[in-house]
């Protein structure tokens, strides 16, 4: 009773804050309004949503196998309307048993669902889309009530995007059999989504998963469960077979139970970087596919050449959309110094007309933040900035769970509010002098999710968009979304994309690949590769050291060194290892690399990378062709080298060398044929999907096919603009080392391919831990794979590991399939809005 009274009071106070008229004074007369021209209340009616809650008696369980599952003894969780601080419904806290039941249902449904024709799955997704549209207002109201965001946003953005994703992916389901050949479904997807866009992000996961033939178990966020449950009910109404889509509710720990469930083949996560790291570690070495869409601190770059009034509106969309609780929120404003104060004045003026109110208020720009804890967390950042002398500009907010739009100036790159994701309506502003400085500041972040550029100079806009490291760059707008363009991050904003064709790859695997389920070994990760050994002199050489007729002259020694920065380098510690030939005799001495060699090689690769990526694809292809040409010239030498060290037959060695030359041609060909595409979004203009280089890639090569595997891994990375630090086969490193002479004669710039020999695990350790490496490809043991996946969480670098399994490198699909292109590129979507013509 007491709570109820309090709630009513708060509601009244809120109304006063929003409308500016105290209810106690009664409704103003028409004459008064005629004079003041105030806005009045315009509430959305929530009676249908209330009726839906009532029809469930305010109590919800899990939705498994198209049925409500309400075990008796579960703890409950009251889901609340943050605007009015009242309970909407009681939900349950799932247990391992519930997760088992849901995953079991999905596993069973997978058998038939994955076998359906693409057309049949398309019919199902289409049907869901239709039903979602029919219930769109109900969904919009439930979502707004549960989250606190305005019904305007759920009505105009969240729910239309849900429908759009369903239609778009109904299309991909239809086209799967013809347009995605060579790929197959993975199995059961465990999807974990956050509270900021509960149903929209659900759709971003569920649509591609179902379209590609997977089944799904979804865990909605703790504080926002209702829309997912309603969505599930609508799916059942639309005729989706039982078990294809299941919802289990619970706390954060249940999310880990779902992610680590042995029958889950893929984990799709959107949420904080911290939880992303936990999931990466928890699933390391299991073979589960993982996509992470994480945090951000996205820059909004405003040039003096911008339409400043329009840029102000861009900022409103960037940071005050959904109370700033958007992973791609444009929270770092960078304004050219020449217009800085003018722009800040305009922005402050614009802020004065922003309205905060209840999620049901149709005249509100912003609603409540998700809960009081979030409000306090936001306030802490702002209070700290204030204490450190920053200028804080805020507009009024009603009491309760609201946080006002906030602009902070007088801060810099060292301020916590500039560095960290606040996840609230707080904008920090800094100035820059030149475009080059703007790009440097924009990229001065651990994140790389979104960015926007405001300028009327097309040349400048496109250049800056190319140079900012982020998954989405909006030119003259911010926070535009569409199912046809993937969304996802660079750097510690995660990997994988939601939406677009690029998003499908998160829910499929190569057709040739078997089930990827592994029991990761129990191992001490601290000790993995921590030490290395070296060899002493060997008295059993494979070729005699004394070669002259009279037995006095030693043969001229062939020295294999490390190779980085375009030069042969002696290993830092100056130890070497003896490489044996097939008969067990010492064939050569090669360098034993340590962490300092890794440091040097990564530095060389990093220096070379941007220049290499900026070269034209044609130029890169010329160099790869040239490597092929030079390798071909030394064909006989490499055949003999292979037979000597591996003991394979001549014919096998010849096949490997020939296949290697062919592979170089394959990747040379793809240097200028995979730049990207035009995405067919709903935006008037052009959205470009750009396939950018990953950056610096660490590669650990397997022992099989020491020449072919080396080139099969290195060539795609280099073809698409990355540079590599590569550990050749530990057993047969001399083939790769012989190759560096080929590289040197092929005009390959220094630093593009860097070769470190020695103990693979040891070098892998330091490569994987290195935070300036953007991806680690590891083809070694299961333990090493677990180590790489686990350790990669440190900076959320992408990984590609083999879990100790071998592949047939000579096979075109296994050794050079589309998978390699996927691994060698990262997708950036550049949104170029168009239009200057409005009349004659």
């Amino acid at each position: 009773m007491r709570t109820l009274v309090l709630a009513t009071l708060t509601q009244d106070i809120n109304m006063a804050g929003v409308v500016g008229i105290n209810k106690a004074q009664g409704k103003p007369t028409i004459s008064q309004i005629f004079n003041t021209m105030e806005y009045g209340p315009a509430p959305e009616d929530d009676k249908v949503a209330q009726a839906w809650l009532d029809s469930h008696h305010g109590k919800f369980g899990h939705f498994i196998n198209n049925k409500w599952v309400l075990p008796d003894d579960r703890k409950t969780y009251d889901t609340r309307d943050p605007c009015k601080d009242r309970v909407l419904a009681s939900t349950i806290q799932g247990t391992q048993q519930d997760v088992d039941q849901a995953v079991g249902a999905a596993r069973e449904a997978y058998v038939s669902w994955s076998k359906l024709s693409g057309h049949a799955r398309a019919r199902h997704l289409y049907s869901i889309a239709r039903h979602i549209q029919k219930h769109s207002r109900l969904l919009a109201v439930v979502e707004a009530l549960d989250n606190g965001k305005t019904v305007r946003e759920t009505r105009d953005c969240d729910i239309p995007l849900v429908a759009r994703h369903l239609y778009y992916h109904a299309g991909w389901a239809q086209l799967k059999d013809t347009h995605m050949q060579g790929w197959k479904a993975i199995g059961v997807v465990g999807a974990i989504v956050p509270w900021n866009f509960p149903v929209m992000l659900l759709a971003w996961k569920v649509c591609p998963a179902l379209a590609m033939g997977n089944t799904v178990v979804l865990k909605p966020a703790t504080s926002t469960r209702l829309s997912a449950l309603l969505f599930a009910e609508i799916c059942a109404e639309a005729g989706l077979p039982a078990g294809v889509f299941n919802v289990v509710t619970g706390g954060g720990a249940m999310g880990t139970q779902l992610a680590t469930h042995q029958d889950v083949d893929k984990v799709a996560f959107t949420g904080s970087t911290e939880v992303g790291q936990i999931l990466r570690r928890a699933t390391a070495g299991t073979g589960k596919k993982l996509s992470l869409e994480l945090g951000g601190k996205s820059p909004v770059v405003v040039f003096e050449s911008a339409d400043l009034d329009s840029a102000v509106e861009g900022v409103v969309d960037a940071i005050w959309f959904n109370q700033g609780q958007v992973c791609s929120a444009g929270s770092r404003l960078l304004v050219q110094e020449s217009v800085f104060s003018r722009f800040i004045d305009k922005l402050k003026h614009r802020m004065s007309s922003l309205r905060l109110g209840s999620s049901m208020d149709k005249t509100a720009d912003m609603g409540a933040v998700i809960d009081d804890g979030q409000r306090k967390a936001i306030a802490q950042y702002v209070d700290e900035a204030r204490r450190h002398g920053a200028q804080i500009h805020q507009v009024e907010a009603p009491p309760g769970c609201y946080y006002p739009p906030t602009l902070i100036t007088g801060v810099s790159t060292t301020s916590r509010c500039v560095i960290e994701e606040i996840f609230g309506p707080v904008l920090v502003a800094m100035s820059f002098r030149t475009a080059k400085e703007a790009i440097a500041l924009a990229n001065n972040s651990i994140y790389g999710l979104g960015a926007s550029v405001f300028t009327e100079k097309m040349t400048l806009g496109i250049e800056v968009a190319r140079m900012i490291k982020a998954g989405a760059v909006w030119i003259n707008c911010h926070n535009m979304f569409d199912a046809a363009a993937g969304f996802g991050g660079y750097k510690q904003s995660g990997y994988g994309r939601d939406g677009g064709k690029e998003g499908l790859y998160e829910y499929i695997k190569p057709s040739w690949e078997g089930q990827q389920r592994f029991t990761p070994p129990n191992m001490n990760l601290e000790k993995f590769g921590a030490t290395y050994m070296a060899d002493g002199p060997s008295l059993t050489p494979s070729t005699p050291q004394i070669v002259s007729g009279d037995g006095t002259l030693p043969r001229v020694d062939r020295t294999y060194k490390l190779y980085y920065g375009g030069a042969q380098k002696r290993p830092d510690a100056n130890y070497c290892r003896v490489v044996k030939d097939a008969t067990g005799k010492a064939y050569a001495l090669v360098g034993e690399s340590n962490r300092k060699d890794v440091r040097n090689a990564v530095e060389a690769a990093g220096k070379a990378q941007s220049g290499w990526e900026r070269r034209s694809g044609f130029n890169r292809s010329q160099i790869l062709y040239y490597i092929g040409e030079n390798l071909e010239q030394r064909r006989e030498e490499f055949i003999s080298h292979l037979t000597t060290v591996t003991g394979c037959k001549d014919v096998e060695a010849a096949a490997e060398v020939d296949c290697t030359v062919e592979r170089l041609f394959h990747w040379a060909a793809l240097c200028d044929k995979h730049g990207g595409e035009v995405q067919e979004t709903q935006v008037y203009g052009t959205v470009l999907r750009v396939h950018e280089a990953v950056g610096v890639v660490g590669v650990a090569c397997p022992d099989q096919r020491p020449l072919l595997a080396f080139v099969s891994l290195v060539a795609p990375a280099v073809a698409r603009g990355s540079t590599v630090v590569v550990i050749p086969s530990q057993s047969y490193p001399t083939l790769a080392l012989s190759l560096y002479q080929v590289l040197e004669t092929s005009d390959l710039p220094g630093g593009v391919i860097n070769i470190l020999t020695g103990n693979t695990d040891h070098i892998t350790k330091y490569l994987t831990e290195h935070q300036d490496i953007q991806a680690m490809w590891y083809f070694g043991s299961l333990a090493g794979s677990k180590f790489v996946e686990h350790t990669s969480a440190v900076n959320l670098k992408r990984t590609w590991v083999n879990y100790g399994r071998q592949r047939n490198w000579a096979d075109q699909d296994e050794g050079a399939g589309q998978e390699f292109l996927y691994q060698a590129t990262q997708v950036k979507n550049v949104w170029l809005t168009a239009g200057d013509i409005f009349a004659n």
Partner: protein, 320 residues
């Protein structure tokens, strides 16, 4: 409006004019979301609609206009809303009239005569300067102004020289508009940009600034005769120019969208635009006019519904 409130104009600032550029996609997005972010309902809607009525320049600009239909228009401008509706709204004594009647120069005497007879303070606005195309000698265009003012027009809606705007002859345009302003004397001058002829929003913004620098009291979107007339994106660009001009000079210039505004919902959208972009000071007929003919009938119908809870037949409301 006291003389001191009028825009005296400022010297032409070409560097300011040429620094302006407008991003149309952003402008469209803002215009589209203005009415999804704000709305007025019930009580508030009725009050806002009445306010809109007072901002209407009730207009007839047809080749077949005669003193007869202009007189009828004046009666409607003086009594725009049925008295029973005003009673129902508690606004009987508020003196609700339209903002002005707007006619061709030849019809000014009849309009002035009628309104004087009716005893209402509704000004007569005359279009002039070779309306709608402006493709006439400068001398005759200016003479039209003087003659209309002599006939009793208190407001002159001039059309700008589109040739000069399209070729970037801002000095020429400035000189012409300034001369026209001088010809207006005490009559208030509204400068029609004929936005549908200007090709780009950037030209609309630049022409807005030049017209204000030359002393326009109002800037107005269109004659109603071009292909594109008063759209919210155009209005947004012109309002931002007005705001910019006020921030630089401290002078408030009025705004008049005209052409294509037909429904009560449209009128509310324009009021919302004014409130959001320029503020409450622009929500009255000293600073804001809507050029329209059919709009009033739709507003009156909505007010009828508000008062009686049901919709009226068109024939039940007095036609203009």
């Amino acid at each position: 409006m006291a003389e001191i409130d009028r825009n005296p104009g400022i010297p032409l600032d070409l560097s300011w004019v040429s620094s302006v550029s407008v991003n149309l996609p952003s402008v469209k997005r803002r215009a589209e979301t203005l009415t999804t972010r704000r709305t007025v309902k019930k009580h508030w809607q009725a009050a806002w609609l009445l306010r809109a009525v007072t901002c209407i320049d009730l207009t007839t600009l047809s080749g077949d206009d005669t003193d007869g239909n202009v007189e009828r228009l004046c009666h409607k401008a003086a009594n725009p809303v049925r008295t029973d509706l005003l009673d129902g709204l508690g606004m009987t004594e508020a003196g609700i009239t339209c903002g002005a009647v707007c006619v061709y120069p030849a019809r000014v005497p009849a309009a002035v005569r009628t309104l004087k007879r009716l005893g209402v303070q509704v000004p007569v606005a005359a279009v002039a300067t070779g309306f709608p195309s402006g493709q006439y000698r400068f001398k005759t265009r200016c003479e039209e102004i003087s003659l209309a003012v002599a006939d009793g027009a208190m407001e002159i809606d001039i059309v700008i020289n589109r040739e000069m705007a399209l070729t970037g002859n801002w000095q020429g345009l400035y000189d012409e508009v300034k001369a026209m302003r001088a010809a207006c004397g005490p009559a208030h001058m509204k400068a029609i940009l004929a936005v549908g002829d200007l090709g780009s929003m950037t030209t609309v913004a630049r022409a807005s600034l030049v017209a204000m620098m030359a002393g326009a009291d109002f800037i107005k979107t269109s004659t109603g005769k071009e292909g594109v007339n008063a759209t919210l994106p155009v209005g947004l660009v012109m309002c931002r120019a007005i705001r910019e001009y006020q921030q630089h000079t401290g002078i408030k210039v009025g705004f008049k969208p005209a052409g294509g505004i037909r429904t009560a919902k449209d009128a509310l959208a324009w009021l919302i635009l004014m409130k959001e972009e320029l503020g409450d000071a622009w929500l009255n007929n000293h600073m804001f006019r809507i050029g329209a003919s059919g709009l009033l009938a739709d507003i009156e119908r909505q007010l009828f519904h508000y008062v009686y809870g049901r919709y009226a037949a068109g024939s039940e409301l007095p036609m203009a």
